[in-house]
Amino acid sequence: MKKRQALKFTALALAAGLCAGSVWAQQTTLRVFVGPNQRPDLQQKLFQEYNKANPNVKVEIETGGATSELQRQYLSTVLNAKDSAIDLFLIDIVNPAQYSSKGWIEPLDKYVGGPAALRNDYLPVYQQANVIDGKVFAMPSQGDAMFMYYRKDLLAKYGVAEPKTWDELAAAAKKIMAGEGNANLQGLSIQGAPIEGAVCTFLLPYWGQGKQFNDAGGKLTLDKPAAVKGLNAWLGMVDQGVIKKNVAEVKTPDTVNEFKAGQVVFAINWGFAFDRFKDDADSKVKGQVGVMPLPAMAGGKSATCMGGWQWAMNAYSTHKDEAGKLIKFLSSKQASAFVAKEGSILPVFQSVYADPEVNKVVPWFKDALPVVLAAQSRPMVNDYGQVSDIIRTTTSAILARTKTPEAGVDEIAARVGRLMR
């Protein structure tokens, strides 16, 4: 008798314990990795909102590496060690293919509903960038693209219309530079240093001729003469004095600082620059900045580089279901509109660009939409790290005139060709 009673008691205690345990276990803490420049303050607000709707899930932010480079360094160490401490991270738009090939990020289909989810009002480029082998590996969070900024006041002063081709731009720049007679005034500022942006510097005039870098299967389809023509377009502008001679030293902050100081007529840069030109205390160009789509090459079409950040899930996470739900929330239209209003972050949904509430705060998004719609993604391949390195280093060398465009393009074709087969 006693034994059976003891057994019953044990069973009850066990059951009670299990119940208590499961209630206890329902309190999940998710850890999210966000760079300090992706507005962790805004993400924090989003997390708080999520927590109100889902009280048993707490979200903690971890910020590391200030630049894409440092973040990659940190994540590379952590993920190679198969660490499960972080559940979600915000990765650059160029990373999903590389990370998924290493098995670091988890396919999100069961949480967001497959590639079809990306056709719903999202910017079209994400269907290329985030879908690998038919599976969704990242969800869009923050959009970005390269814009052509220009000095409205100078163009108006010399009666120049917004240039539609690169030749028109060069002519306009020369006219304005001649008229102003300022030795420090640059016609066009682009980034030629061996940074990620240099990949865009290579691709912009190439895409502008309507050419494609790779096919849907990831195979290289480089049109060498077109690439050479594109690079020669830049070099031609250097020879004409439109672009400065040491363009191979120019990094993104240099363009921004120089434009802000009133030393540049046309500048290519990411979306964040607009607010810097508009709001910074030391900006000499407040209210004089216009935004337009990038010019096309003669006979081609306007094209630009897509940028931005995406949410991905750590494949080694121990809270995948909860993390999946959080990703769905963070990549929703409300979240996108929120960060657009609060942080002037380019939306990832087409309709948000024309949202009247958003336009109240950021009127220039209306002009930004056509640019972003024409944005293309850089090659989504497993070895993007290596591909990017080859393109940016070679492009910078060509702009520094230590390699001829022909030799450089041959090198790119050979080395990248081996990787993108």
Binding site: P36, T67, N269, D282
Partner: protein, 281 residues
Amino acid sequence: MSMAQQHGLWSSPMLRWIAAGIVVINGFFPAVWILFTSLKPESELVQKPITWWPHGPTLENYVRAFTDQPLLTYLKNSVLVASGATLLSLVVSAFAAYAIARLNLKYRQLILTCIVASSMFPLVTLLVPIFETMRALGWLNSYAALIFPYVVLNLPVCTLVLVSFFQSIPKDLENAAMIDGCTRMGALVRVVVPLAAPGVFTAGILAFVNSWDEFLLALSLNSSPAVRTLPVGIALYQGEFTFPWPIISAALIVSIVPIALLIAAFQERVVGGLTQGGLKG
């Protein structure tokens, strides 16, 4: 101090001033440049021609340096980690150096080679296994996670420096102490170390500065802001697309000052006449 250098060529004060001038400019110039930059607003940096002395000096960068990030916390962490690593490095390398320099070991050369060879692998390739080890020990985001690897990173230099200094001290002094009743360990602590003081301080400064400046491990192992060290913290002022030199310069000055003070304090010990009469000619 070499008597020879007090005569002849160097007795000319003019030449000595020129020599001093060259050395001082060489050493101070970048630091002074950074100091000036920390007082300039960012817009001044794109002016052409470039400005040297700040045209509109401002302390705003220092304010931002301390408010944009918990710079004082980083400073504290760096001091604690570097000090801990230095003390431990000195103890461990002094023991090893004494064994190599004084004891009759068969494989003495092999041991020394092994210790030095450990520095021949670039840290970036050892990063992931070290991370895994620290994670297994539960030491991630703690001072221990950095102190122990730093000791290993400093081991080759400190050991070799101490070996060479210990070797230059005549054995008779220790033997005398031992005859007087000291054990070997006692002789090490009471006779050898004080006499090799310049070497000990040299090894100490080497270990301290190496630990202070280390970046890769600090970035990967101690990512939490509470235990972050200065080099990693300073790298965080930059943005994906911005590089605020003035603020970073301010933070660099904050990071250099303790080291400069330390060096200024100990250079007397290293260079000063501590061993003037210690060794019989």
